[in-house]
């Protein structure tokens, strides 16, 4: 196993420089392995980021900043430049330009595809650096780098082609933490400023920057509570906060949020609190009066309570925005489902069941507490950080599957500390002698200052060779299982991008179901340039990118009402849906149907969310209850409710739908994507429903239903 070899190699290279070279080589190999392990598949996803990058590369930075995208959110459009995190696109754009300058004119697409693996290599190195700050064992850093490189929890978001913000954000997260620890340990403004710089980069890259914004103040606060206030803390924190906040405010999407919203308030509060402490500290050193000091501490506490009260008042008065819904739902876990169904409807916002933890981290998930416990042994400032991070990281990961990503670094670091401690104890040739024993005995009488019960006795060492070899061998087996597990998970679960479904044929060969791209390519080639496509928002980015057609809603879920409108159109009867589609100039409707293949990620399975979201806006017109049978079941078969059977979505999915307002335009090979064309008005300007009703001799009785301006198109 690698850890063994590391140790052996470290023993071979006794010289300092030899070890240094070995470390660099091993680190480079780990980075290489972490890149290689991510190349199982290469399909770009999400396409929106790729599209934005292409726009950036084609039109330059300033145009990108002002980009108004009229091909999404029809007819509203989206101020894209001001509503995205530009870090990812700017990074790949910069790499692209740099490579061109080096006369390597690679396609921007290849830069985008390989960005995540390349950055995962950097993440491994950052994990190495961070771990080295925690412990004196060199093997711990290398192990952490290895874990970080191959842990499935991180691979899941960084395979080749996974071109999302997380691709670079995790590196930035780990590296910012490393710089923070470095700054805190040295009390250095330089490191603090570097930390702020990378924090700014992180803010520009991922909405998850709030994790740093909350974790660093929390760490500082815990240190203060422990009586660990020091000038080092003051210097590093204030440097980071002042510069980091300024940097973050440069991003248009963030703007003044750092001084206006609640999730940024802890950082501001601790900043103020530190000023107060520094002031008191100065006073205390200048006037060494005991009574006065007591008074001052009371004073400091009073100020803290007062400012907290002021914060609460300011929040309730509306000066400071309350917790944003997405963030708040992490604390009040029932909140999202009731108030913001869009957030709750995303599968990666679901809580995490235990198999997911084991799946993503395997061995590390229970070695992780061991490492955290070891941090209590020494309990220096940086160990407090790991402890705080561990508790909060695991809480967040438990609440949301997606946040497994922020937990993974600390698990790797703590796990590496634990495993390297074990290996360092058992992987030494030296056997304790009589003298060691006596020295230990003597030391024990003196007592040590370690506060941990289990660590009160001094270390003696391991006596017998067989226990050493047993432990080392079993650790090697466990680590081997871990590596195999990671490979298996990566190749099986995380390397099939959502747009391609891979299945195994009975003979073991791989069968690729490529329906999504088939349909998108058809749309792209065989419909009008500006044909508007209505679909559920999950497919918005893909349609915008792969099919290059305007969409009504997409994965940037900024306008709930618009999404609810689509939800309403999907969940209502045709008579209601048709005017909605006409109003929004919809040309085609795209649905995902998994019935033929037994594919569970289809629209019928997401349908309840559409209903719920629509119900949130039009409670009178859409009712979730009506989609459940009297027995409270959600049925899509013959026993489905009437409302269900009449809904547009159900008809498009199940019926051989050849009716009045829509006609089938394309169905992909395995029926996963079905595209319907919205029929135009007939020659006299009637829609098909009223025309059919007229022909049947019925009166037009639905005139009252069509309120609002109807956009008539003259073709």
């Amino acid at each position: 196993m690698s850890a063994e070899t590391l140790q052996v190699l470290a023993d071979v290279g006794k010289g300092k420089s030899t070890r240094g070279v070995l470390r660099v080589i091993i680190l480079a190999l780990i980075a290489g392995a972490s890149i290689a392990s991510r190349l199982f598949s290469v399909i770009l996803d999400p396409w929106f980021n790729f599209r934005a990058t292409k726009y950036l590369v084609a039109n330059g930075f300033y145009n990108f900043w002002d980009w108004f995208d009229d091909r999404t959110w029809h007819p509203l459009g989206r101020v894209t430049g001001g509503t995205l995190y530009p870090g990812l696109m700017v990074t790949s754009g910069a790499i692209w330009h740099a490579l061109r300058a080096l006369t390597i004119p690679v396609d921007i697409r290849n830069v985008c595809v390989l960005l995540a693996p390349a950055f995962s290599g950097l993440t491994a190195i950052a994990a190495y650096l961070l771990t080295n700050e925690m412990t004196t064992y060199n093997s711990a850093g290398l192990l952490a780098a290895l874990f970080m490189g191959i842990a499935p929890g991180y691979i899941s978001r960084s395979v080749a082609g996974s071109y999302d913000n997380e691709a670079i954000a995790i590196f930035l997260l780990v590296f910012t933490f490393y710089l923070w620890i470095k700054a805190l340990k040295q009390g250095s403004m330089l490191w603090g400023a570097l930390c702020a710089l990378f924090y700014g980069y992180m803010v520009a890259s991922w909405g998850g920057y709030a994790f740093i914004t909350c974790l660093l103040p929390l760490h500082a606060f815990v240190l203060i509570l422990m009586g660990r206030y020091s000038t080092r803390l003051y210097v590093s924190y204030t440097t980071w906060y002042a510069l980091g906040t300024l940097a973050s405010m440069q991003i248009p999407f963030v703007g003044f949020l750092p001084v206006k919203t609640s999730e940024h308030m802890p950082a501001l509060g601790i900043f103020g609190f530190l000023q107060l402490l520094a002031f008191l500290d100065y006073v205390r050193s200048a006037i060494p009066s005991r009574q006065f000091q007591t008074f001052l501490w009371l004073f400091a506490g009073g100020i803290f309570v007062l400012s907290l009260a002021a914060l609460v008042i300011a929040t309730s008065a509306g000066v400071i925005a309350p917790w944003s819904g997405r963030f708040y739902s992490l604390w009040d876990t029932g909140y999202a489902k009731i108030h913001i169904p869009i957030i709750a409807s995303v599968s990666e916002h679901q809580p995490t069941a235990w198999p997911a933890f084991f799946f993503d981290l395997n061995l590390l998930i229970f070695v992780f507490p061991v490492g955290v416990y070891l941090c209590f042994q020494e309990l220096a400032d940086e160990h407090v950080f790991i402890i705080v991070y561990a508790v909060f990281g695991s809480y967040f990961a438990g609440v949301m599957v997606r946040l497994m990503l922020t937990l993974t670094p600390v698990v790797c670091v703590a796990g590496a500390i634990a495993i390297s401690t074990i290996l360092n104890n058992y992987l030494v040739a030296k056997t304790p002698t009589e003298e060691d024993q006596q020295a230990a005995e003597a030391a024990e009488k003196k007592g040590t200052k370690s506060g941990l019960k289990s660590a009160t006795k001094p270390v003696v060492g391991i006596y017998s060779l067989w226990s050493k070899s047993l432990m080392v061998a079993s650790m090697a087996v466990y680590l081997l299982i871990f590596v195999m597990h990671c490979t298996w998970v990566t190749s099986n679960a995380y390397s099939s991008p959502s747009v391609v479904l891979a299945s195994r044929m009975p003979d073991g060969s791989q069968h690729i179901i490529d329906d999504y791209r088939e349909a998108y390519q058809w749309l792209r080639q065989n419909t009008k340039e500006d044909a508007k496509i209505m679909s559920w928002w999950d497919y918005g980015y893909q349609i915008g990118g792969m099919a290059d057609r305007p969409t009504l809603v997409d994965n940037n879920t900024w306008n709930n009402t618009h999404i609810a409108t689509v939800g309403k159109a999907m969940s209502s009867r045709e008579e209601v849906s048709y005017p909605i589609m006409r109003q929004h100039e919809v040309d085609y409707v795209l649905v995902v149907f998994g019935g033929l293949l037994g594919y569970s990620g289809d629209d019928i399975n997401k349908f309840l969310w559409m209903v719920r979201i629509a119900e949130g806006i039009w409670p009178d017109e859409v009712s979730e209850r009506a989609f459940f049978t009297p027995r409270g079941e959600y049925r899509v078969d013959g026993e489905a409710t009437e409302t269900m059977k009449n809904s547009l979505m159900y008809k498009m999915s199940y019926y051989n739908f050849n009716n009045l307002t829509l006609e089938e335009a394309f169905t992909s090979e395995n029926w996963i994507i079905r595209i319907y064309k919205v029929k135009d008005l007939d020659n006299v300007g009637r829609d098909h429903i009223s025309a059919a009703a007229f022909e049947k001799g019925l009166k037009k009785k639905k005139a009252t239903k069509k309120r609002g301006p109807r956009v008539l198109r003259v073709d």
Binding site: F357, Y395, G398, S464
Partner: protein, 314 residues
């Protein structure tokens, strides 16, 4: 007024001290010790010329640690000001941790303003100076009665370092640890400051979260379910679902594994007896192995395609 009695005692003691210089070592210790434990902020004892002489006079059966400092802003002694709170913290924690005076250590501070003569007589040009006067009589007596001088040449010193230094020179005596807080919560404090308790809390919460407790909380999953044959099904089928009991079992497995890991990493190397150690390695290693193997088999139940297993759970 809490401080009033202490103040009175102190002033009385000073008066007494100057008059009755012939008090025995035992008496001197008792009076100074009483002074320092009188209030939470009485230690270290603020000394003056006469009390300094009394404290350091021989013979003594106690140790005296005295800082000679210059706090007056005239001297602009940055080091003095930085060290003073550390020294106060050290003295207070020590005194608080050793109310009975078993360690037989007294802490004092002599400011230049109060003890100009002493500074002169010692020929001190710099401040601060930390002097440690060893006992000359009694069980801890040392041969050389001269005070040990602490080296400030490395810049300001934090309380921990000085504490270690003092502790090093006081073998065979209790060394009350440093306590960070200035507020005396004699009962809550040990709990709040106990690393063991915090470590336990941290580990328990981590184990809770990583075994899917939040999922139970949000999804309101059933505790157990029937398997349809009258029995109880402990593990929900399917990768995305779980039962309450199931997560508790998993948390227990994780906890057992972590405990084994901690024992192997920390406890076992500290066992002095070779035979006991061998048994411990075997026991914890075995527990780790079998629990892990069992966990893998449980996971395979949840995810039938999972290929890895360890005997005996195949």
């Amino acid at each position: 007024m809490r401080w009033l009695p202490a103040f009175l005692t102190a002033s009385l003691a000073f008066a007494g001290g100057s008059l009755a210089a012939k008090k025995t070592s035992e008496e001197r210790f008792n009076s100074f010790h009483a002074k320092s434990i009188a209030s939470s902020s009485a230690a270290p004892i603020k000394l003056s010329d006469p009390s300094y002489r009394e404290l350091t006079s021989q013979p003594r059966d106690y140790t005296a640690a005295v800082v000679l400092t210059a706090m007056d802003s005239r001297f602009n002694c940055q080091l003095c000001r930085e060290f003073q709170p550390e020294w106060d913290l050290l003295a207070r924690s020590w005194v608080k941790g050793d109310k009975a005076g078993e360690s037989r250590v007294l802490f004092g501070t002599l400011d230049f303003a109060d003890g100009r003569e002493i500074f002169m007589s010692l020929g001190l040009q710099t401040a601060p100076v930390l002097l440690l006067f060893p006992p000359t009589v009694g069980p801890h007596a040392v041969a050389n009665p001269e005070p040990l001088r602490y080296d400030f040449s490395n810049g300001p010193q934090i309380a921990e370092v000085v504490h270690t230094w003092i502790a090093r020179h006081l073998p065979d005596r209790p060394h009350p640890p440093l306590t960070a807080s200035y507020v005396a919560w004699p009962y809550i404090l040990p709990i709040i400051q106990s690393r063991n308790i915090w470590a336990a809390l941290t580990l328990i919460s981590i184990l809770l979260f990583t075994s899917g407790h939040m999922y139970n909380h949000i999804r309101k999953v059933p505790y157990v379910a029937s398997d349809g044959k009258g029995g109880i099904s402990y593990f929900a089928s399917g990768f995305q679902s779980q039962y309450g009991l199931e997560t508790q079992i998993v948390a227990a497995l994780y906890g057992l594994l972590s405990l084994a890991g901690i024992s192997l990493a920390i406890k076992v190397p500290r066992i002095r007896d070779a035979k006991t150690q061998g048994v411990a390695v075997l026991a914890w290693g075995g527990i780790f192995y079998f629990t892990y193997a069992f966990l893998l088999s449980v996971f395979r139940g949840k995810n039938p395609g999972y290929p890895f297993r360890l005997p005996p759970f195949v």
